[in-house]
Structure formats: C-alpha cells, structure tokens
C-alpha cells in the first residue's frame, strides 16, 4: 500500500503543478484587482499606486516565479484584501467546511442506507415508490430555494431554530438539512440499486439458509457487498463538498472555504484563490487516498490484488 500511495502522490504532483500554473494565469485573465478594490471613480494615480503596492506592475513571469518558488517554501502569498497570508485565511475557513461536509455526509449516508435498504426489501412496493419520488425531489430541489424556505418556516414562522449564523448545535440544523437533501436523495437511489442486486446474490440465500436474522442478512451480508457503489457515490459527493457549499455558507453566514473562494474570485484576490486551489487539491488528494483505503478495507478482493 505504501508504494501505491507513493505512485499516486507522484501522479498527483504533476497534475497539481499543471493546475497551479493554470489557476495562476486564469485568475489574472479576469482583470485587474484594482478595478474591483478601488471605488469606481478612483483616479488613475490611485490605480497605479495600488498596482505598484501589490507588485502587479511587474512582468507576469516574475510574478509567476515568485508564486511558484513560494510554493516550495509552503508560502502561498499574501491576500490583497486582508493583508495576511493567504494560506492562513484558507486554513482558518477549512474546519467549518470540513465539519459541515463531514456531518452532511454522515447523515446522508446513514439516512440513505436506511431509506435505500428499506426500499430495496420490497422493490416496486408502495414504500419503494414513495422513497424514489422523495429522493428524486430532494436531489433536484435548488439549495438556495430550500434554504430560504426552511428559514422562513422554521426560524421566522415557527421560531424553533435560529435563522442563520454559527454557534451551538441548533445553528447547524438548517444548513445541514439543506445540504443533506441532495446527497441523501442520490445516495438512497444508489443504495437501493446496489441492495437489490446484492439481495439476489447467492450468498444472501446462503445466509438465509443458515438462519441468520433478516436484519443481519440485510445489514451484514448484503450491505457490505453493496457498499462499494455507495462509497463511490458518497466519495464523489464528499469531494464536491470539500470546497464547501457556497450558497449555504453565504446564506447562513458560515465562515467556510466555499464562500471564501467565491469572494476571493469576485474580488480577484489572486493569492487567496491560488491558496484555496492548492490546499483544496491536496485535501482532495488525501480524500481520494482515504476512499481507496476504504475500498480495500471493504472488499478483500481489492486488497489482495
């Protein structure tokens, strides 16, 4: 497994370098940050001063070299807007996003397994159909709309949860509910399919003939075999969440990395965008390794290959 990780790292390093070069030039194609930072009617002198202070007047190749060599010193540059290290800003935002993503995925996976298994026990039954419709609806409802609706119902009308903000556990209820819907819906479908397939497998018949309780047949015998496609889908969703949910973080005022990145892109805060991309790439790389390890743990046939 050590060799495997090393090979993956070498592979990822090459893509990471490509990504970094791409991002460096792409963000600069969007225009000058001075246009966005300075007031609309700022004088040309003020613009020039801003450009000089932030070194944006130097040749592109010099700026790139500074950024690129900084990478190897783990220096990702300084935020134009906040005047502090970009890496620090990104890393400050990460725990909130990871927590949000982690809780969301945990709840989605548990919920999806319960719903999907329930539906798979009697495929095409009434319950199966109800669950299918619900999961389809929840996977396709726009987050933005759901979030505002839930706020007006539960925070403003019923007043059982806070509207927004960050604090005790009650502040996490609405954002996580909104974020959970989509992966829950998608995952429930995947769980259903995988379980239906697993439940027709001969080893399930064997387990039943052994007198294994039905609950164990479902959750111990079939689910473990159905877990690979579930893990694939959950992994995809989780990787998507690493960059946070911009909409949810903005609406609920969660200091996560998604909101940070969008703000940084809109404000052309180059260093923060770059730091965000680099750090996210590393996190996604680690996530993928975790997922690969999980595959191997779940299926011995992969382990022994």
């Amino acid at each position: 497994m050590g060799n495997f990780v090393l090979a993956r790292m070498a592979q990822s390093l090459i893509s990471l370098i490509g990504l970094v070069v791409l991002v460096f030039f792409l963000v600069r194609l969007t225009g000058s940050p001075a246009d966005l930072y300075l007031p609309d009617d700022a004088s040309e002198a003020a613009r020039q001063e801003y450009i000089r202070i932030h070194g944006l007047d130097r040749p592109m190749i010099v700026q790139f070299w500074e950024f690129f060599s900084g990478l190897f010193r783990l220096d990702l540059g300084e935020s134009l807007r906040q005047a502090r290290p970009a890496a620090q800003i990104v890393l400050e935002a990460y725990p909130t996003s990871l927590k949000l993503a982690g809780l969301t995925m945990l709840i989605s996976v548990i919920g999806a397994v319960l719903l999907g298994v329930w539906a798979a026990v009697r495929p095409t039954g009434l319950l199966d159909r109800v669950i299918s419709i619900l999961s389809l609806a929840s996977a396709s409802a726009p987050n933005f709309w759901v979030a505002l609706t839930l706020i007006s119902v539960f925070a403003v009308w019923l007043r059982v949860v806070p509207t927004s903000g960050i604090g005790g556990w009650e502040y996490w209820i609405l954002p996580i509910t909104v974020l959970t819907l989509r992966p829950l819906g998608l995952l429930a479908q995947v769980v259903r399919e995988a379980m239906i397939r697993a439940l027709t497998a001969p080893y399930v018949r064997t387990a039943k003939s052994k007198g294994v309780p039905f609950r164990s047949v479902l959750f111990v015998h079939a689910l473990r075999n159905a877990s690979l496609p579930i893990l694939t889908m959950a992994g995809n969703q989780a990787v998507g969440f690493i960059n946070g949910s911009v909409v949810i973080e903005s609406i609920f005022g969660f200091p996560g990395v998604g909101k940070l990145m969008i703000d940084a892109i809109q404000q052309r805060d180059f260093a923060v965008v770059q730091a965000g991309v680099v750090i996210t790439a590393v996190v996604i790389f680690l996530m993928n390794i975790l997922i690969d390890v999980a595959y191997a743990l779940l299926d011995p046939r992969i382990r022994h290959k």
Binding site: S32, A42, S43, E49, E92, A93, G167, P255, Q267
Partner: protein
C-alpha cells in the same frame, strides 16, 4: 462479532418502534430558539464582512459602520444633514493662510492602548496616511491630488501645511483617521486602536466583530455596552434576523421586503445617472443631449423599477450637499419636444440616426439592469436608434475615461456617491484636464475652477449652485435620474436615526434602548 452484527442485534432487541421513537424525539425535541442579544448588547447585521479593518480603510463600506467614530475618531465630525463640521478630537480650528491650518486638540484623551492623544499622535496618523506603500482608501479617495504634512506646535496644537491651496481642506481632514502611535507604520493592522467610545474586543474571522464600550472614553458614556457585527449576504436573511430579534439593525433590506413598521427608507447619498457620450456624434450636439433628457419618463420609473422614495435629481449631488441648487426642477418627459429637437439637429446635418449604445455593468445596484432596459426602450420610443450592451468593468472604463476606445456613441449607466458634503468632490470630473470629462467647455472649466478656489461659506455654495444650474440647463452631459434610497430595518429594542448619515457610518453612541 462484527460491529454491524452487534448493532443489528441491538436493533433486534430494541425493535423498530423504539428506534423510530428515538429519532422523532430528537428531531421534535425542544430546540432552543436562537440567542437573543443580551441586555446592553446590540447586534448589527451587515451584507458582508470587511476584508480588513485597518483604520486607513475605515471609509470602506463594510469597515466604516464598525470603525468610523466608534473605534477610530477624526478631528472633526462632518454632519451630512447640513454639511457642517462639528468638534470631535479637535475643539477649534482656523485657517492661517492659503496652505496652512491650525487645529487645537482636545485634552485628556487617551487611546485604547493607553497612549496619550496629543499633537504627536496626529502627526503620526498623518505620516502613516501618506505612507504610499500601504494601501489606504482614506488616502487615495481624498488625497490623490495633493499632500499635506502635520507639525506639532505644542502638545495640543497641530499645524497642517498643504502642498497646494484647498478651500475644503477642513472637510477633507474630517475623513482622516486618528490612530494610536503604536499602530504599525508599514503594515495594515487587524487590531485598530483609536480613541473612540468603543474598543475592538474580538474579530472572529468569517463570524463576527465585537466592540465593547470604552470605560475611559472622553465623552459621555453611550447606552450600548457591546455591539456585535455579523454578516449575511442574503437580504431576506438580514430582514428575518431583525424580525425574530436575533439582530437589532441592518442597513439594507430588499425593497420588496421593506414593508414592516421596522423598515425605514433613507438617502444613501448615491445618485443614479447616465453619462452621455458627448465626445461622439450625435451626442456632441447639445440639442440631442437635451432630447435624451426629455425622452426619459422619470416619474414612471418611481415605484416600478426604482423605489417610490427615490428623489428625482437635477445634479449628481444630493439635496443636502453644499452646492446643490434648490431652484432647479428635474427634466420633464416631453416626447413632442424630443421630436422637434431631433428634427432641428437633423436639419443641421447631425447624424441623429446613428446607433447609440446604452452600456452597463451587470447588477450595479438593485434594479440597475431593468433601468437600462427601460432607458433603451424610452430612447427607442422617442425616435433614437438605441440598443443596450452589457460590458465588463474594464471595457466600461475604456469608454468612460480618456483615452477612449472605439468610435461609438455611448450612454453609460453610472452611480456617484457624495458623502463628503461639498460639490467639489463630485464636479471636478468636468474640468478640461480631467480624463473623465465627456466634453471640454472652457466656460464650465472656468466656473468650476472659480468655485474650487472659493473658501468655504455662502460664496462658495453660490458658486457651485451656478455650476450645477449651468450643467443642468446648458451642458447636459449627465442625464440625472435620482438620488437613491435604501431601506434599513430597526428592531423594537432600540432607537436609531439613520437619516443624514451615510451608510458607511453607524454611530453606536446614538443608539438608545427602548
């Protein structure tokens, strides 16, 4: 036995009903309602978090409400309701000659970090402001045309020497932050230290900024002990927070939600106008520009595209700004006269049928895209060959500023903010040597030069009023629409008067509890 087996057996023992009951109990359980602000505390919800809170950037729209006069004070306080200056850290001031001003400082004031407030502190603040290696809006917004130095005459007297005469120096100086001498000179600070009634207690990045009452404040102790600023991008969420009592105040609620008794409309000192591209035919002809102005049905825009509270304007400065002319009336809607004017111009060989592009940047302000659409339609209806075009800010600037790009006839949607109390801050753009001037008229240039050189007082005001009249009637390079309003929502716990203040100031000291 595997974990899954164990759980599964547990489930067998407990049975589905128990599990279901537990889930329902958790989800229906008594979720505590959000924390309401404590006694003596207020919560202000802003639309976004300031990227930095260096005193040099206290003019920034997100930073201002937090720092300005609450944490960081100025020598004088500009009262926007009548453009007058009130004493703050200075008790008296006088002009010594054209380029020299002398300020007498308040005694017995200390900074939050214990440093004494004195002439040296003012000198340090001015020197830091002019450190051009430090990006500061307070400098490049007010002092990009000149500099000045400060000198301590004695402990509580400062003399300012200007690089050139500036009749509104006092007004400009009211925008200079006075910072503790311990403030880093070469770096932006995240821990601003001033003399104000509140000290910065905490900045939890992405979450909140908390101010606490300064027990050693030189002035009266305000009622509010603690003020927390939080940030929500979504207008309806801000409105909801005040509605349910999680917050006490927000500067901006979407117009369509501003229907409760808690909502107050206020002038935000932003004026909406169109720049008429007088550098190109046919807009280089005064009759054509007049026709554009008369083709706009301004009344019809109110209550439809713009809030009904919007005040139709005659100049890009609001009615409370010194120099605005109360005798003028907005251009009426007169399609017949438009036809006449265009025919006259056509008869003189003006290419009135040339395509005119109404250019705009996406979503400059609420309703801006719709306003451009309405403008294009009204121009077409009046007989112009008009179309609209969405552009990126860089392209927009290529048309607005000299040297200008392609030869095209353009009308640019623009918005101007004047919260500095003097028309000079707004109209210098029309000087012949400005690169933003749509047209160079020697007569206008001279009038503006004269007004700029006139000392503050009735004479200066009259000079600006004349400039404004001339532009409104005889130049018409701006098609002014109106002075914007915004809607604040004020919770029932507090009282606060939003009028007469610009939205980048929130004077916590004026907040009282009901």
């Amino acid at each position: 036995m595997s974990f899954a087996e164990r759980i599964s057996q547990m489930g067998d023992r407990l049975g589905t009903p128990v599990l279901a009951a537990a889930i329902i109990a958790v989800s229906m359980g008594v979720a505590p309602v959000a924390a309401q602000p404590a006694e003596g505390e207020i919560v202000i919800v802003q639309s976004s978090e300031p990227p930095n809170i260096d005193p040099g950037n206290f003019d920034y729209s997100q930073t201002g409400p937090i720092l300005r006069q609450n944490v960081i004070e100025t020598l004088t306080l500009l009262d926007l309701s009548d453009s007058s200056l009130q004493p703050r850290l200075a008790t008296a001031w006088e002009q010594v000659d054209d380029t020299t001003y002398r300020y007498t400082l308040r005694e017995g004031v200390t900074f939050h970090d214990g440093a004494p407030f004195n002439a040296d502190a003012v000198v340090y603040s001015v020197e830091r402001l002019f450190n051009t290696d430090l990006e500061q809006i307070a400098r490049n917004k007010y002092w990009d045309h000149m500099t000045f130095t400060a000198e301590a005459i004695d402990e509580f007297t400062v003399e300012f020497s200007l690089s050139q005469a500036e009749p509104v120096f006092d007004t400009r100086l009211s925008q200079v932050p006075i910072v503790s001498p311990n403030t880093p000179f070469d770096a932006l600070t995240r821990a601003p230290v001033g003399t104000g009634p509140y000290t910065l207690a905490e900045w939890q990045a992405g979450v909140q900024i908390v101010l606490e009452r300064n027990p050693d404040y030189w002035g009266d102790q305000p009622e509010v002990e603690r003020a927390t600023f939080v940030f929500r991008g979504e207008g309806s969420v801000r409105a909801s927070m005040v509605e349910v009592g999680e917050a006490d105040f927000t500067f901006s609620v979407p117009e369509e939600l501003a229907t409760t008794g808690m909502d107050v409309a206020y002038q935000n000192f932003e004026t909406i106008y169109f720049i008429l591209g007088a550098w190109e035919a046919p807009l280089d002809d005064l009759r054509v520009r007049m026709a554009v102005n008369l083709a706009i049905d301004r009344e019809a825009l109110l209550g439809t595209i713009l809030p009904a509270e919007t005040v139709l304007g005659t100049a890009i400065i609001g009615p409370s700004i010194s120099g605005s002319n109360p005798d003028l009336v907005p251009h009426p809607y007169d399609p017949d006269r438009v036809t006449e004017l265009l025919e006259e111009a056509r008869a003189d060989g003006v290419d009135v049928d040339r395509e005119i592009t109404v250019m705009y940047i996406n979503d400059r302000f609420p309703g801006s895209n719709e306003l451009v659409e309405a403008m294009a339609l009204m121009l077409q209806a009046a007989g112009f060959n008009a179309r609209m075009e969405l552009v990126e800010s860089g392209v927009y600037r290529e048309y607005r500023d000299e040297p200008r790009g392609e030869d095209r006839a353009v009308i640019l949607l623009s918005r101007h903010d004047n919260d500095k109390g003097d028309a000079g801050f707004s109209l210098t753009r029309h000087l012949c040597d400005s690169n933003r001037n749509p047209i160079c008229l020697p007569e206008l240039d001279e009038m503006i030069q004269t007004a700029l050189a006139t000392p503050q007082g009735p004479e200066r005001e009259a000079a600006w009023q004349e400039v404004v009249r001339f532009m409104h009637e005889d130049v018409q390079v701006d098609a002014v629409i109106g002075h914007q309003v915004a809607f604040a929502r004020i919770g029932p716990r507090i009282s606060y008067d939003v009028s007469g203040k610009n939205p980048s100031t929130f004077l916590i000291e004026e907040v009282t509890f009901n």
